[in-house]
Amino acid sequence: MTPVVIIGAGHNGLIAAFYLGRAGVPALVLERRPIVGGAAISEELAPGYTAPTLAHATGPLRPSVFRDMRLGARGVELVHPDPRLVAFAGDGRPLVFAADEAKTVDAIRGFSTQDAAAYPEFGRTLARLGAFLAPILEMTPPSLDGPGASELWDLLKTGRRFRALGRTDAFRLLRWMPMAVADLVAEWFTTDVLQAAVAARGIFGTAQGPWSAGTGAVLLMNAAADPVPAGSSVLVKGGPGVLTRAMADAARQAGAEIRTGAAVSRIVVRDGRAAAVALADGTEITARAVISSADPKHTFLQLVDPVDLDPGFLARIRNFRSRGTAAKVNFALSAVPVFRGLPGPPELRGRLQIGPSIDYLERAFDASKYGEISPEPWLDITVPSLHDPTMAPTGAHVMSVYAQFAPYRLAADRPWTDAASELAANVVQAIDRHAPGFGRLIVQQQVITPRDLETVYGLTGGHILHGEPSLDQLFTMRPTLGWAQYRSPIEHLYLCGSGTHPGGGLVGGSGQNAAREIAAELKK
């Protein structure tokens, strides 16, 4: 039987392959790189050191994906760290978000009794609104042109659930979505570092600052998957590579074939239908359907011949915003760093955030608007070797750092090859301020710029979410209006990556939703 070809073995590609296989549609997954995983990988950073090269925490992963793919039985161990997050205040004081809410409230009380009192209610509110949104993330966005019966039914159900929220929450939802996340957190809290820790979830991976309108929606979408105000920081023991390798096993067992080192250079369209893919080495593989987990721009602007697409559609895809602003710096360390105000390594088991206030985050963003690297970047840090000592030699550690903002395009066309060291220096300096002597622990460092994200990992514009999660690029607009149902204007060409609804980080929603939609159509 002619297989369905899936382009890219990132987590969404693998999840789609698994669900299609389970539905009786075997897939051939083609991965350009020598390993599976896409942006969810663990690779050797230096001899004896393994780092989560790109993603370091899960989004968290959709529980049904974990269950259906039996990832637990395949050796994936999800870590729910305690504390979940340590955020450093401007004066260096750490605010510790423990897994136990009461402990977190106590910690907040050290900053503000008023905020401590507001925190549980904020958490509950976020959970209620998140619970309303969660089913929306699982649905295929309806067509706005001619919604079918089942779509109308979904809309009706959503409408009823909206009313069931009650007036207060219903209006909150309407107000919060288009809001700037900075305004949203200021309605609840006065403590800078607490505001920043929550608001950061509204700007992670985006080309937006906390004052950008619509970042409220990003926070709410994240809360739909994970309602803990500052994030529950679910990690994978051994790094995300362990997760995607297990996903690959599950997909294979469900009937998929996975080939690495197989770069698709072109999607062959015959008679308006996707008929085959051509590999970089010239081989052509006939396909019953082609499903791309690559981002929309890569798919439609690089892999498809423009003559096969309508110019209006092409213009819209070109206008799909995917200017990345996140960079990654991974460190091999000779020992565990000592952070001021933290008793010891157990406190470093979750995420660490250097981004003490809304103003700090916004200033970091400001630089990127003019094509500059943040002089004082916002950092999201994990030390994965604390959970899996095999990731580093005895006593040594790896540290994984997300740094924002690092604009894809630098001012005056300065090449990133020149700027990478400046970025790393800014990161080291920012960490050193809280962990004096940090610089001396560095055995090796790896800098992944937005340019690398594009050239090495195939993310157009270096956008880790495949495209801005802004209001005009969400839900029925992701990637563009009329094509949010995982289909494309080319028959039998589908999308299943983060550039489709619901998108996001290491969550798996896009792959799962897309497989459901595509399987139903292919089995017709």
Partner: protein
């Protein structure tokens, strides 16, 4: 003690429109204005002998044509003069000069970019289509999406149907307009920096947002609304200044029987058993009324005049949360002669329109960045007009008045108060203009500097917001000014809102005053 069917608080354009419609329906109406002159922020004053300024609001485009018609404003002396074009001088000696005549503007844009000249046609067409969709929404009372009231459901259904009936490209544009930043939206059409900067400026006026902030694209549409309605196409000046608009509306109201008192400040709205029954003036007089209609902002109306004790807690929390954050100032200059722009020397038609200091997108965005951290822009966005060129009656012969709208001037300064910074702010504005028209320093006879603090003190605009509250998505339509209270009603029976803090918001539009009057007449009957 006198009794009125309705007392309208505030004699700004919305208060006056509201009063005029109520009076025309036969109600006995009293308008109370705190200042010595009518008009609120739509006011003309002789600030310096012989020089008359549209002190605050200075151009008109959005005034609803049905108001002009129904109140017969031309018959009451309203005359709109054209304000043709926008001239943007550039630091490199070049300029961009857009005028109402489409072909001329196209040629001018082609001088900067041929592609942009092509796109300008399509853009204009798309905006007109969008505007047609939005227009009926301006005149509608926003439905409550959480209520099961059949009327609200019908309205929602109406909106949904209209949206569904749009061609797909229009749907796409409409969603983009509602959510995108002005620059991101314009980036899809144009490549010329100065063109995008000048066009995007309309998206930030009266907001605490930058041209790259999502949500600013929507306001681009407002520039096309005048064109769609065909009343006076695009922007205009009112002969005698914007105060003449207020005076015409005031005359229409008086003619319909309304009584208008200036220099009469309201200190309290009296609430008995959950209903407004009248007002107490600052001089202690007590006036009773069947309906109180407030055109001042929610902060003054509810927190100062009504008092939180008469209101539900949740509503009070919403009113406190409502964002004002004034971000603009005004500098009014009395000039001995005309400014001379380096990029287009001498007098000429370019001075008869607006002159915009908006040379680039980054320039605009940097101006915003400073405001975010609590200081006024070192190099602000300035929109200037010289009404005396079109209407010589506002200045002595040979002299001129120039009105400069300046953004950003944040109400909340990080250091010091506006009283300490007022003059330095004025200097900054003049220095900025001097970079393009160096003679400006030599021709200034007098200057009046209005900071957001002054707008608050003198005009009762909380935090100096010219629209009585930011025009951001979470404060528009059924969320303006508070969730569940967007229908001109308030939690206090017989108390209504009719100012810019209600749908559809600010600018000299008059729609809030008219929409509110309809609501009052239908509901309370006003008797």
């Amino acid at each position: 003690m006198s009794h009125y069917d309705a007392i309208v608080i505030g004699g700004g354009h919305n208060g006056l429109v509201n009063a005029a419609y109520l009076a025309r329906a036969g109600r006995r109406v009293l308008v109370l204005e705190r200042r010595h002159v009518l008009g609120g922020a739509a006011v003309t004053e002789e600030v310096f002998p012989g020089f008359k300024f549209s002190v605050c609001s200075y151009v008109v485009s959005l005034l609803r044509p049905e108001i002009i018609r129904e109140l017969d404003l031309p018959g009451h002396g309203l005359e709109i003069l054209p304000l043709d074009g926008t001239f943007t001088p550039m630091p490199n000696g070049n300029y961009l000069w857009r005028v109402n005549d489409h072909a001329t503007t196209r040629r001018e844009i082609a001088r900067h970019s041929k592609l942009d000249a092509e796109a300008y046609d399509e853009y204009g067409k798309a905006m007109v289509d969008m505007g047609r969709f939005v227009k009926p929404i301006l005149d509608m009372t926003p439905p409550d999406p959480t209520s099961l009231e059949p009327r609200g459901l019908m309205d929602l259904l109406f909106l949904g149907r209209r949206f569904a009936a749009l061609p797909v490209e229009d749907k796409y544009n409409q969603i983009q307009l509602m959510t995108m930043s002005a620059v991101d939206f314009l980036d899809q059409w144009f490549e010329t920096d100065v063109l995008k900067a000048t066009m995007s400026a309309s998206g930030i006026i009266g907001t605490f947002l930058g041209v790259r902030s999502p949500g600013t694209a929507y306001v681009l549409l407002h520039h096309y609304m005048g064109e769609i309605d065909g009343a006076f196409r695009s922007w205009g000046l009112s002969r005698g200044g914007t105060g003449a608009i207020s005076n015409a509306i005031g005359d229409a109201a008086r003619k319909a029987g309304a009584e208008i008192r200036t220099s009469t400040a309201v200190s309290k709205i009296i609430v008995k058993d959950g209903a407004a029954v009248g007002v107490v003036l600052e001089n202690g007089d007590y006036l009773t009324a069947g309906v109180v209609s407030s055109s001042v902002d929610p902060n003054l109306t509810f927190l100062r005049m009504v008092g939180a004790e008469h209101l539900p807690d949740e509503f009070v929390a919403d009113v406190r949360r409502y964002k004002y954050r004034g971000s603009s100032g005004k500098v009014n200059l009395a000039l001995d002669s005309l400014p001379d722009f380096r990029s287009r020397p001498g007098p000429g038609a370019h001075l008869r329109g607006a002159v915009s200091i908006s040379p680039g997108v980054d320039y605009m965005e940097r101006a915003y960045d400073e405001a975010k951290y609590g200081r006024y822009s070192r190099r602000p966005y300035i929109d200037m007009v010289i009404p005396s060129l079109t209407d010589p009656s506002v200045a002595p012969p040979g002299k001129h008045v120039m009105s400069c709208f300046v953004q950003y001037a944040p109400y909340h300064l990080k250091e010091g108060s506006w009283d300490d910074h007022r003059d330095a702010f004025g200097d900054t504005v003049i220095d900025t203009i001097a970079e393009y028209a160096p003679n400006i320093r030599d021709i200034i006879l007098h200057r009046q500097i209005l900071t957001p603090l002054d707008l608050e003190r003198e005009w009762g605009l909380t935090e100096g917001n010219i629209f009585q509250g930011e025009l951001t998505l979470e404060q528009l339509f059924f969320l303006r000014p508070a969730a569940g209270w967007a229908q001109y009603r308030t939690p206090v029976r017989n108390l209504y809102m009719c100012g810019s803090a209600t749908h559809p918001g600010g600018g000299i539009m008059g729609a809030p005053g008219r929409n509110a009057a309809r609501r009052i007449l239908k509901e309370a009957g006003g008797r």
